[in-house]
Point group: C2
Chain length 282, copies 2
């Protein structure tokens, strides 16, 4: 434990569930049941997949809109109630119909007091581009009793600039609802998890990525849920073919405050921003 | 093979050798022997470790200076001769005493015609800060018959901004001499290789990282040499405890010209530089 960060340990859960587009009540119930299972096992931070209630594989923007909800809709209401009962912080993805009637691929961070922040996915994958308007704000960093939390959604994790910015903003733990489409996993760790490892290690922060499982309209999912520590090592990760799976990892998020990697090195201190200026923004 | 990039296949070698600080002749001979072994086995691009001739664990800046050489010194002369005989492109690290008498942790890219480019490590590790002046130029991208090559050195690989910039500059293959200090490897892939995987995948480019082995003044090395493809998967990687090891990987570097990851996505096209502006350069 870092002497500068006497934050308590906390069990972080990722709830890898199977979902079905067009069954919002069933999806929400499945997510709530998995989160309650995690809470009963002691988790206090619970991460659920991207687009939990709506499902993912929309046939049209209209279908997505029909399944969308405002930030303070049924997903927020149900998980806030659960969070209040179990003293949780919950991260969950949802299809947002925002105040301008734009559709967003969003995520909520909430606790028993209600919504703490809403984040809108900034990097859209494939057919999402037909449905959603990308966000253009960095996720907020939210203080909790266990450390500072931020959200990211799925494909965002592959953008090293975005993860670096979240790290520089002071996140101890990035809660990342995902839907990683993919064929059945081959040998070794999925590349999606390798990106999570590198993002965690490059910024000495924790990342909890919650994927989904099952099939939806012919699309299958990697099922690569994992909680990765600031050294880039997974504490827990879903094995191939695990199906529905609730994974818990005991984390001391304060360890993310220690950015040093040697007496003379730090992952942020050793950056050379003067060399990056004007180049990365082209 | 990408229809837009009819570049031929090439065998890329990484020559993981043991070195000893203060034995420049022995170190150079060891590197040359390993490179010649690789060439005889068919390699045409050969990568050697960081600071090959000098060794790494200097007791003082004076010792480093005594072991340093100009860019056109003995390392360049010996490898240019080898490159001419075997039609090679060679990447090799060396301790550079530059025209201003600054010490640099540098790398050469050369072929039978001589030096193609010199790159000076921009991110210095630990005690290197007492010895070397960091470089402040992005590596050049050099055209070869097999594709476009760029250099990076060791700790540079952990800076996602730097690897992104090299990718955006059009490198098909990053040749990375390294000296990864570390305790004996534990379970699984070393984190250094995970960073190489993520850098390769995030930019859809090849990365050939050549580490060293053995011990030097009590410092041991990860021995994590690997050639990684644009999907982030290692073609070859040194197993734990491999010791000296010459690894070859057949690569079609033109595949790095294909940055798409779906019909609608590309690793560079999907960046949101307007969102990164002003943030990553702080």
């Amino acid at each position: 434990m870092s002497t500068t960060s006497p934050l308590p340990e906390v069990d972080v859960a990722v709830c890898q569930v199977a979902l079905a587009v067009g069954d919002p009540d069933g999806n929400l119930a499945r997510g709530l049941a998995a989160a309650e299972d995690a809470a009963r096992r002691g988790a206090r931070i619970v991460v659920l997949p991207e687009l939990l209630r709506s499902g993912y594989v929309f046939v049209s923007a209209q279908e997505a809109e029909d399944l969308a909800e405002p930030a303070d809709g049924p997903t927020a209401a149900a998980f806030t109630d659960l969070a209040r009962r179990y003293d949780l912080v919950v991260a969950v993805g949802f299809a947002e119909l925002d105040a301008d009637r734009s559709l967003r691929n969003s995520a909520l961070l909430l606790d028993g007091s209600g919504i703490r922040t809403v984040y809108r996915k900034a990097h859209l994958w494939d057919g999402e581009k037909d449905v959603f308007v990308p966000g253009d704000e960095l996720p907020e960093v939210v203080a909790t009793p266990w450390g500072r939390l931020a959200l990211a959604v799925c494909y965002d994790l592959g953008f090293v600039e975005w993860m670096r910015l979240i790290g520089l903003a002071g996140a101890d733990l990035v809660c990342a609802p995902t839907n990683w489409p993919g064929p059945p996993r081959g040998e070794g760790r999925p590349m999606e998890v390798v990106h999570v490892q590198a993002a965690a290690s490059a910024n000495r922060m924790f990342v909890a990525a919650c994927d989904r499982t099952g099939a939806e309209r012919g699309v299958t999912w990697v099922g690569g849920s994992a909680v990765v520590g600031p050294d880039g090592r997974p504490f827990v990760e879903a094995p191939a073919g695990a199906g529905e799976h609730v994974l818990l990892a005991r984390c001391r998020l304060g360890l993310a405050r220690e950015k040093s990697t040697s007496a003379r090195n730090g992952v942020h201190a050793d950056r050379r921003p003067e060399l990056y200026a004007g180049l990365l923004t082209r």
